[in-house]
Structure formats: C-alpha cells, structure tokens
C-alpha cells in the first residue's frame, strides 16, 4: 500500500516539476535571446503579466485557447518591440526602461482586466488546455506519464530548448545575435545591422515571454489573478545568469528551480514545516547572486550587455 502511495507521489512530483519548469523555460529562453543581443529586458515581469492577461481574455471571449496563445505571443512581441524602441533605437538606459516597461505593462494588465471583467468575488476562469498523451512514449513507466502526458505547450517548451540552441549556435541569424551582443562595432563592420538584429532578438524574446504568460493563465491556473506571475520574471532574470546564457544550461537551471519549488510545495502541503518554505523560494535568488560573484572572474555575460549602439559614436 505504501509502495503504491509512493509511486503516485513520485509520478505527480515529476509531472509537477515539468509543469513548473515550462513557463520558466519559455521566459528564460526569451530573456536569453534579448541579452545575447546585448539588451537586458527587465520588462519581463510585466510583459509576462500583460501577455497572460491578454491571452486569457482572448481565449475566454473567443472560446479558442490557441487564439488566446496567439494573442499572448503577439502581446509579448509588441511589448518587446516597445522595449527595443526605447533601448535600441533611442539608446536609453536599459534597466530604467525595463522597470518602466514592467510598471507600464503590469498597470495596463490590471487596468484592462478590471475594465473587461469588473470586480468579481470569484475570478472568472476558463476551461484550460488538457493534457495530450503521446502514443507509445506515454506508456514508458514513470517518465512517460510525467513528460509525455502533458499540455501541448509543455511539448513546445521541450522542443524550444534544442531549437533555441540550434538557432543561436548554428544559424547565420544566431551568429549575428551573438556578434551584436559581444562586439557590435565588429558586427557593424561585417555588414550586420546591429539595430535590426537587436530589434529582432528582443521581439523574439517578447514572443517567448508571451508563451510563458499564456501557459500560466491557460494551462496552469486557467484564470488570471493579479499575482499570477508573482516574481517568475525576476526568477527568469536570475536563471539566465545562473544558466550562463546557454539554452541547455538554462533548461537545467529551470528544472533545478522547478524541483526546489515542487519540493517546497510538497513540504508545505504535508506540513513538514521545520524549515519555512520561503527559505526554498529565496534559494534561486541567493544562488544566482553567489554564482554571479564566483563567475565574475571568467566573464561570460555578453560583453555589450547594457551598452547602446550608436553608429556615429566611436
């Protein structure tokens, strides 16, 4: 009997890790593309929230979840374009603009949500995505149910990692992104448009942040609440540094964080509260700050991060 219980516990636990990791995988990949091109996007927290709200609203009004996902992605791209307009085209300070984009997008998300749905005692919910078991693979013991009986968006996240790595390391565009993030002057001499490449990278990043937001309101919670993102954007900022701007390491970092998060949820639920669960929630931030101090000796951050590019200035 206890063995059976343990089995269910383990199955659910693995699946929970994958689900917690999914929005983080999208968000960290998005932030990574932006930062690889030399643009820190602190707007991520607000962009995820606004996309989550826009996607949820579109899905609940149209009745189509995939239309909701599309709207979330387009919202993310629009906010990415806004951030790029300020930081790339106008060359304004990236961190202050990012905070501005976060304040603006979150404010807009709260405002529009309240305007559309009014103040209700029970927040409106939608019938979210259902899991899609993949034939054969979902029959693999343990792993099959956790990984291959998931939402379509989870599969997209799993595919996004190798795809992201391929785009970044194996395509001409990926090379351009890395060049404009490391040495924009050289990229410019080589005929790569720094401005255009940065715009594209930040907008692609916004699209991925939009997917992260869509997952939260259409697969994980099936409702929009003001705390639906609750710092996941900041977690992504931390994980990008922790995962050293590499898609594979980012996936590992997201899984590690998801493991810790799932563990603290279990401990909270089972009442094994010797250690406050907040201690676990703090961990990724503390780890990242410590890792930044250790890693700083061999600088791995894109060299041109935070530096605007103006062609005429030498």
């Amino acid at each position: 009997m206890s063995a059976v219980f343990e089995q269910i516990f383990q199955l659910g636990f693995l699946a929970a890790i994958i689900r917690i990791a999914t929005p983080l995988a999208f968000a960290t990949l998005g932030e990574m593309f932006s930062e690889r091109a030399g643009v820190l996007n602190l707007g991520i927290e607000g962009i995820m929230l606004l996309s989550a709200m826009a996607g949820f609203t579109a899905a609940s009004l149209s009745g189509s979840l995939w239309f909701g996902v599309l709207v979330a992605v387009l919202t993310g791209m629009a906010m990415g374009a806004l951030h790029a307009l300020f930081t790339v085209a106008l060359g304004l300070s990236q961190h202050v603009c990012g905070i501005g984009v976060t304040l603006f997008s979150s404010g807009l998300a709260y405002f529009l949500y309240r305007l559309i749905f009014g103040q209700q005692s029970v927040p409106p919910s939608i019938k979210g995505f259902e899991t899609v078991p993949i034939p054969v693979l979902s029959d693999i013991p343990v792993l099959g149910q956790a990984v291959f009986n998931q939402f379509a968006l989870v599969y997209m996240a799993i595919l996004a990692i190798p795809l992201g790595a391929f785009v970044l390391y194996r395509t001409p565009w990926g090379l351009s992104v890395r060049m404009v993030g490391e040495n924009p002057r050289a990229a410019d001499s080589a005929g790569v448009s720094v401005i255009a490449t940065r715009f594209q990278a930040v907008i692609l990043g916004g699209a991925l942040m939009g997917l992260a937001g869509a997952f939260l309101t259409m697969a994980q919670f099936n409702a929009f609440t003001f705390g639906v993102v609750s710092g996941r954007g900041w977690v992504a900022i931390a994980l990008v540094v922790f995962g050293r701007w590499d898609p594979w390491r980012l996936a590992g970092a997201a899984l590690l964080f998801a493991f810790v998060d799932a563990l603290q949820l279990r401990m909270q639920a089972s009442g094994l509260g010797h250690i406050p669960y907040e201690a676990f929630l703090m961990l990724p931030f503390i780890f990242t700050i410590v890792a930044m101090a250790i890693m700083s000796r061999n600088a791995v951050a894109p060299s041109a991060l935070l530096k605007p590019f103006r062609r005429e200035e030498r």
């Binding site: 304004l92 309240r114 700050i289």
Partner: protein, 351 residues
Amino acid sequence: MFRLEARSATPAWFNLALPLIAIAATLVLCSGLIAIAGAGVVEAYGVMLSASLGDSYAITETLVRAAPMIFTGLAVAVAFRAKFWNIGAEGQLLAGAVASCFVGAIPMPGYLAMLLMAVAGAVAGALVALVPATLRVKFKVDDVVSSLLLNSVIYYALMALIEGPWKDTFSGYPISPPIEDSANFPVLIEGTRLHLGVIAALIAAPVCWFLIARTTLGFRIRVTGENPEAARYGGINVKRVLISTALLSGALAGLAGVGEVGGVHFQVMSDISPGYGYSGIVVAMLARLNPLGVVPAAIFLAAVMTGAEAMSRATGVPAFLSDVIQGTALLAMLVALLFTAYRIRRVGASS
C-alpha cells in the same frame, strides 16, 4: 531631414520643463484609457485632482502617501548620481520596516523608541544596499541584477517572519504584532493621518540636496558618477565612494519603511509597500536626480494614487489607471531626457 545632434550643455529651465512635458504627455496618452473606459477625460482628471489636492484633508492624505516615495526617490536619486544602479529600494524599504517593527515592539519611552526605530530601519536598509555595492567593487558583479534579485530575497524573508514567528496566533493572519502605542509617530494635525515621518521626509530632501551639492562627499559622488576615470585620477577612492553611496541610499530607503510602520500601519504585513521602491525610480527620474525635485515628483505620484481611487468610485474607471500613469511617466521622462543629450537639427537633404 532631421537628425539628432550631441549637445554639450543644457539650459537650466530644462530641469523644470522636461518633467512637465513628460507628465503632460503621460496624461494625454492615458486619457485614451479613460475614454475606452467610457468616462469623460476632463471629469476623470478633475476628480483625481480635487480628491488628491482639492482640500486640506486630501492634501494631508496625499502627503502621507508621498512620504515613502520621497525617501525611496531620494535613495534612487543619490545612488544613480554615483551611477550605483540601485534597483533594490523595495527590498531596502522592507528591511527597514521589519527592523523598525522589531524595535518598536520593545516597551520603552516613546521618543526613544521612535529614534531607535529610525536608526534600526536606516541601518537595515543600508546593510541590504551594501550587498550589491560590495559585490560590485569586490567581484565586479552587475549591481542592477544583484540589487533587483535581493528584493525577492528580502520579501521572502519578511514573509517567513510574518507567517512564522511573528504570525498572529489569535487570528492566524500573516501580520506582525503591532508596535507599542507609545512608539506610534505623533499625528501633527488632529483628525488626519499626517504623521511625524512626513515632516522627516520633507526635511530629508533639502538635507540630501545640501549633501550632494555642497559637501565633499557629494562632490565625490557626483564626480564618480560623471567620470570615474577623472575621479580616480583626481585621487578619489571610487570604490569607497560607491560603498558610501550605497549605505546612504539604503538608509534612505530603509527610512521609507520606518515611516510606514511608525506612522501608517504600526505593524508589518506582506503588502506594506505597494511597490514604493520601484516608484522611487520613477520619482528620481522625474526629478532628474535632484533631491529637491524629488518632493514635487513624489507628491505628483502620490496625488495620482490617492486621486485614482476617488476617480474610480466616481466614474467607474479602474483605479489601476494610476499604475499605468506611473509606468508611462517613467518612459515619457526617459524619452524627454533625450533632449538633454541631443538636439533635433534640421539638415539639408544633401548632407
């Protein structure tokens, strides 16, 4: 054809004109949202204005709301002057709130308690700000990311306290025990919430201005921010200046938390700050990092916040408009600041 041209100096009237232009642009942009919500733009802004600055009680409420943002605005302004990118005022505020709540709960004579609360809150905020500054000067760690991430660490530490040892055992709510009644900041005008901390904030601004504009430390902070190479060449210990700036900035943000505990809430809860630390960035940018400008900038944001609630009741436009205004104002100000570095020149098509 127009092109941007670098500008070497800016006329003094820019300091006043730019924020006003940015605020005007913000209000015009956000009027679109009021129209979408189906309310009259003039009516909505009119209610906001009269509810926040229309009578003496409204003014005191706006000032109470402005006080924490004056402190966080000063914290950010001082830090940004030295190019110490302190995005962590939110966490420093929370640390100050926790420390002052801890001290305020100890029975002792009122004025001693208030003094010690302020000291404890300032020290706590300064210690939190010391972390990103130390990491930057010792390990070259980016202060933007480290100070931002610390906000989450401090927030969870606060949550652990109010859901753990501080939790109200009677009601089960995650709130700290209240501070001693004698430690409550005195109310200055009967029937309002205008407390001693508001006066402290209003005094802190000119003190910070004096410190930045007229003292040796202020000179060092400015030179370090404007030209660290020249500062080093001139014999200024840039690392030490950054550490001092961080301590000062963190202490100011910590005092924002002290005011909220001593003068408004008398205890600590999870939403003791509705993002006052981030609002401090908006305030500091609107003030063009001038401590004297921080006061009107904070009062503007506070008026928007208090006014938005009344506007919402009167017109049905969601009060979250104030959050949109805040974000838009920051972005508009950043664009407006372009005019200090560049001027738009008309150039011939041939050039």
